[in-house]
Amino acid sequence: MIGRTHPVPVQADGSVIAFTLNGEPAAVPVPPTRRLIDVLRQDLLLTGTKIGCEIGRCGACMVLVDGKPVNACLTMMYQIEGRRVTTIEGIAGSPDALHAVQRAFLEEGGFQCGYCTPGMIVSAAALLAERPDPTDGEIIEALSGNLCRCTGYGGILRAVRRAAAIGREAGAHG
């Protein structure tokens, strides 16, 4: 079967970029100007980060760099040297867990084709980390850099509201 079987060799010109990827130390031999999106998708075969426009407009490639949402298509590798990168694969903290945002997307139907979903979830998770109880205006602002063509955003808005509620409940009981 076709799958994530082989990293693509890339001319490194001797440079190695060290950073933290989803909590694990990583060092990749790539040119400093190589785009983060290409390292993730082509070199490391982490294809949960999607590619939709390559100009930072659609948000399908959203990842966290030191907890802040960033378009991986606009990020060069030298910019993440020594930083913490979190992709959709690492957003829940462990492979078996689901982030509250992921649970809420499942329950509310915050996705259809699912292609914008990793980026959307990364942006929403970043928002809730900073503002656990956001207003609708804050949700709209935080997700305005993520395009979705399927849902009309209704399910997404409901999911993020619900994720905030899940967080509140966890806070109240925890």
Partner: protein, 772 residues
Amino acid sequence: MMMLTRETAGKRWRVRPDGPVKVTGRLQYLTDLAAPDMLYGLVLRSAHPHARIRAIRTERAEALPGVRAVLTHRDVPGLNAFGISRQDQPVFCFDFVRYVGDAVAAVAADSPETAERALDLIEVDYEPLPVLDTPEQALAEDAPKLHPQGNVLHRNEYKRGDADAAFAECAHVVEETYCTPRQMHAYLETEGGLFVPEPDGRLTVYAPTQHSLLDRMQLSRILGVPEERIRVVSSPIGGSFGGKDELNVQPYGALLALAAGRPVKIHNSRRESVRAGLKRHPMRIAMKTGIDAYGRLLAHRVRIVADTGPYATLGAEVLNFATEHVLGPYRYEHVDVESVSVRTNNGMSGEFRGFGGNQAIFALEGQMDRLAALIGMDPWEFRLVNLRRIGDPGPFGQTIARTDGAHQVWRKLKESALWRERVAGGHGGSAAVPADPGESARPPWIRTGIGAAMVMHGFGLGYGIPDPAAGRLRLAKDGKIEAIFGYEEFGQGLLATLETLVTETFGFAADDLRLIIGDTDRVPDSGSSTASRTTAMIWQALRRMETPFRRKLLGAAANLTGRPAGRLELGPGGVRDAESGELLIRYADIAAEAAEPIAAETHFHFPVTDMEKIGAHFLYSYSAVAVKAEVNLLTGRVRVLDQYHAVAAGPVVNPMGYVGQIEGGSGMALGFALLEDAVMENGRYLTGNLDTYLIPTIADLSGNVAVEPVEELPEDDPYGPRGVGEIGSVGLAPAIAAAVYEATGVRVSRLPIDPALLIRRPEELWKAVSGQ
């Protein structure tokens, strides 16, 4: 009033089977796949919208280290053409190029960078030719012919009575010409895939499409190999909306992989997707509609001109659909419709959710609103006067399945909170009367209005077009119940619908099932995943397979347990005692021990009308849409605040999917009405990416959307759930136009709405600058 939500749907609101892998990023889309030793493919697109090709030289590209294949028209072993309905689109152009997305050559190389360099090294000598960038130019007598048959792809017409004579009898007549934009599908996953030559000589194509078996057939013609030598894996898909129905990158990936003898990956950049991909047909629809003194429709004359671009794909079928849908759910004695789809050197137009209905119904509903205003009638009551009744024939006078959908949604909308708010606020002009208490708090340059529209939308491909359906159920060796359909999951929730229907029909648990779709080696020919047809076809297939499959399963269980089949029933995990529910034998044990294979299969055809008019529909869904919109008179911008959709489409199968289709479809309609147009000039796109082609963001669509299904069908209805995949994308645009009129008194006839039409200079400002 029962809006469909997670709360009201209760237990039937289920987590989608494809959900966990989607929210965790674990799902590999076909454009995410990689293979050892794979090459990167790229296509050289035409440098001109219209030119003669004098020569193509590939030697320098071939000599570039790392380049493994360079292909042109000389390298197509089979038919150098494709097209679902008519094969007039060259795989590789050889004599002429007819639009900027035309393919001239393709390369496969070790890296994307090398492939790109190789494209630069291919030399094409073009002799530029005059560009036909409007249908009017292309129809001119002295216009160059883009194809030997000329520049008309297709004409259609429908006439009854004597419209011209009837207009003389009309008390009022409205004439208007409506223009609609070149809307882009803008699926987030651009076209692409992986093409793998297998050791046994077969080719595996991993590439999204809406009808895998048709892709296989088209590729077999192009490659000159039997269909059995090709396997098409076609799901999951990151959005399609009709845009991936026709072949896109598949011919190039397949040819390159076979030429290089290695796997080839192609994944279009957004720029290439815009340039080469399909769009919604821009249409110019001129309507003349007349009524008597009581508001009864007497005559309706329509002329449709569609810009279909250079090649056919389903341009003719889209035009047929528009020809049928400019008539809508209304009664008229005299009808005169003529339509033409014209070849131009603009971008390709083709299949797109709504399929010509969006344009047609925007125009038709605009006429209804104008006529109502002309005689001072409430626009919704005006529609009622003319509304089709249960048992009426379809728009072409054809037999259609009997439902009362039009009246059902009409009534629901009239009772809706949004419409009651409009009635309470007064109507019939420039919305001087505040419609709600919040209104008075708004600044004077913010005006609101509430508008509505009706939709009657056919589904299925229509009369005269092969529209097969099929399904298969099987108890697999490992004990899983396999539900096997040749449909595609592009986000609509097909897998959830299939899981829901199979579990509800038989009593299985979701865990008992294995859902198999999107792979030509495994599925029967269920027809296309288009035209809002799949839910209905799965439902009908299961109705046909239910009895035989249950009988076989229970019979085997009876043999193995020694109990009479009549005392057994299917349940979660296995066969159970019908009385106590006790689990008697697991499906896995039946599978291991049954003497004969336990399976059922059905093949049938989508129900069609008996009228011999190509494309005429037999089954319809209905919707009524109300919308509250706000217009800023300083900026001319329109904001949608609140939407209400009543949808009569039979029983709701998959509540989450149903809401999603209506909300998502209406989001697309909002873009069509307010934002989107892939503008072209001299046959070239002025937009190349999502920075200049704006689709709605969450800020544009944060308003409330209420969805109210009307599930009731006539008692003897044998057809079950109707399609809802497209209907949500149709009614919002005309409803917004009506709301804008209520808010401002401005009639809009061109989409997307130009803010300049709605800007008003504030009175104070006017006085200040004019010194009065």
